[in-house]
Amino acid sequence: MVLGLKDIWKLQGIIIISFCAVFVCTLFLNHNIDVVSIENEITSEQVRLLYEAQMMSGKVVCGLCGGCLLATSVVMLFFYIKQYIDSHRKQIGILKAIGYSSFKIAKGFSAFGLCILFGAGGGMLAAYGVMPYFYKVQNEDHILPEYSAHFHPVLPVCLVIAPALLFAGISVLYGCRKLSVPVLELLREKVEKSFKAGKRRQGKELTFLVQLRKNTVWQRKSLVFFIAFAAFCYSAMMQMSFSMEELASIVFSVMIVVIGIVLSCTTLFIAVTSVANANAKSVSMMRVLGYTMKECTGAVLGGYRWIAYVGFAAGTIYQYVLLKFVTIVVFQDVEDVPDFTFDFPAFWIALISFLVLFELLLWWKSIQLGKRSVKKVMGE
C-alpha cells in the first residue's frame, strides 16, 4: 500500500500536536541541560532551592506536556489508521486476495512516521528560533548566575528521529493487527457494529431523535475521548496560563495558552469533522424524509455538548489541583511564593471563550452538512 503526501497531510492533527510537544520539550530540556552547567556556581542555599524548583518545573512540564501529547498522538494515529483501512477496504481486500501479506501491505503505513518527522522537526526549529528570547527572559531576574543557550545534539535524536521511527513502527504493527482479517470480510461492505443502548427505565420510550443522539455519541468512543480531551486541554491550559502570572514568567504563560488553544482547536476540529462526515448519509436520509437541518444536526452533533462540558470541568479541577500541588510541594521551601487560590476571572474567560468556540464550530459544521447535496451523499 503506497501512501502519498496527501494521505500523510490528513494527519494534520498529529503534525500540530507533535509540533507543540517538541516545541515545549525542546525549550525546557535544552534549558535544563544548560542550567546544569551553572550548578557549581550556586553558593547560596536560597538560590539553590530556586534552581532545584526551576529544574523540577522543567521536568514536570516536559513530562506532562510530552506524555499527554504523545498519548494523544498515538490514539489519534490509531484512529486515523483504522479510518484509512475502513475507507480502503476493497483495495486492501483485493491486494490480500492476490497474495499480499498483511505485513507487506501494512509496511506502507510506516510513512505515517513522516508526519511526526514534519511536526516534531518543525517544533524543534521553532523552539530554537525563540530560544534566545526565552533565555533572555529567564536571565532577566538575575537570581541564578547567567547562562546561555547551546545546541545539544541529543535533543533532535530523542525528540525528532526516535519518535518518528517509533511512530512508523507503531503504525506498521497496528496496521498489521487491523489487517489480520479474512479477505472476504474486507471485500464485503463493512457491517456497522451495533450499539446496544443500556438498560432503560421501564416504560420510558425515547423518541427517534433522542435515541439517535445517544447512539451517535456512544458508537464512536474514540471521538468522545477526543472531544473531552480537547475541552480538558482548553480549560486546563487557558486557566493555568492566567493563574500562573505570579508563579512563572509571561513567556511561560503565553506559551501555555497558545499551545492549549492550538491543541484543543485542532483536536475539536478533527473530532467534529469526523462526526459530521460519518453521519452525512444519516443526515441526508433524514432530510429526504422531511427533518429540518436543525433537527438533523442536533441529533448527530448535539450529543457531544455535555461531553465537552464535562471535559472542561475536569480540566478546571485538574489545573487547580496541579497548581496547588506545585505551590505546596515544589515551591514549599522557596520564599515569597504567593498562596494559590482559584482564579474566578480566568475561569469565566476560559468558559465563555470555549462556549463561543465550540458552538461556532458546531454551527459551521451544520452549515457544511446542510450544503451537501442529498443526491451526492446518497450516491457515495
Binding site: E192, S194, Q219, S282, M285, V288, L289, G290, Y291
Partner: protein
C-alpha cells in the same frame, strides 16, 4: 393529483451539458399506482427525484393539488416532504446505529404516529423490533424501509427500484407487502423500475427513453406480486 408540465432537467457545466429530462408532462391521480419504466440512463430516477421534490427542475412545473413545488425554498420543500411523501430506495439507507423499531420511528415521529408498530407488524417484522440493520437480511432491511416510509403516513410513496437488490423470492414478498398496504391505506405510488414484469402490477405505466416519455398506458389486468414473471 400530481401534475408535471414541461419539466426540463440538465446536469453538467456549460461546455458539457447532459439534458436528462427533455420536456416531460404527465399527471397522476390520487391513489393511483404508477410505474415509470425505462432502461438505465433514460432519466426515470431523475424524474422521480424532481416529482418528489428532491431536485428542482431547470424549467417546467410540478404541482400537487395545484400547488407548484418547483419554486419552493429548501425549507418549504423539507416541510412538503415531511407532510406529503415517503421514499423507498434500492439501497434501503437505514440508519446502521439504530434498531428496527427506531428506524421505523424515524418516519413515524414526523407524522406524530404512535401506532407505527402496526406497520412493522404488517411487513412481518414484529418479532425483530430490537434487531439492527446489520443483523437483517436484504429483504428484511427493505421491509424496514417500507415500514419507515409508511409509518409517516405519506400521501405519495416514491420507490426507486425497490427490488433491485433483492432476489426473486424476497422481491415478490416486498412487492406483495407494498401492494397490500396500498390497498389498505390508498396512498399514491410512483415506482421507478427497469423490470417490465413489475410494471404489470401498476394501474398506469409510463415508459421513458432518452429523457422523454415514449408511451403511457393503463393495464387492463392488474397482476399481483406472485402472478407476474421475474
Amino acid at each position: 393529483m400530481i401534475q408535471v408540465k414541461e419539466v426540463v432537467k440538465s446536469f453538467g457545466n456549460k461546455e458539457n451539458i447532459n439534458k436528462v429530462l427533455k420536456g416531460i408532462s404527465l399527471s397522476i391521480k390520487d391513489g393511483e399506482f404508477v410505474v415509470i419504466l425505462g432502461a438505465s440512463g433514460s432519466g426515470k430516477s431523475t424524474l422521480l427525484n424532481v416529482i418528489s421534490g428532491l431536485e428542482r427542475p431547470d424549467s417546467g412545473t410540478v404541482s400537487y393539488d395545484n400547488r407548484d413545488i418547483s419554486g419552493l425554498s429548501d425549507k418549504a420543500l423539507t416541510e412538503f416532504r415531511k407532510d406529503k411523501v415517503g421514499f423507498i430506495f434500492q439501497q434501503y439507507y437505514l440508519l446502521p446505529n439504530l434498531n428496527v423499531d427506531k428506524n421505523v420511528r424515524m418516519g413515524a415521529d414526523l407524522a406524530g404516529n404512535s401506532d407505527y408498530r402496526q406497520v412493522i407488524e404488517a411487513v412481518g417484522l414484529g418479532g425483530k423490533l430490537g434487531k439492527y440493520p446489520s443483523e437483517l437480511s436484504g429483504g428484511e432491511q427493505q421491509r424496514v424501509s417500507v415500514a419507515r416510509a409508511l409509518a409517516k403516513k405519506p400521501e405519495v410513496l416514491f420507490m426507486d427500484e425497490p427490488t433491485g437488490a433483492l432476489d426473486e423470492e424476497t422481491g415478490r414478498l416486498v412487492l406483495d407487502y407494498i401492494s397490500k398496504l396500498h390497498a389498505k391505506y390508498h396512498f399514491t405510488i410512483v415506482m421507478v423500475t427497469h423490470n417490465l414484469n413489475i410494471a404489470e402490477m401498476a394501474d398506469t405505466v409510463i415508459r421513458m427513453n432518452s429523457g422523454k416519455i415514449v408511451e403511457t398506458y393503463e393495464n387492463q389486468m392488474i397482476k399481483t406480486a406472485y402472478e407476474i414473471g421475474w
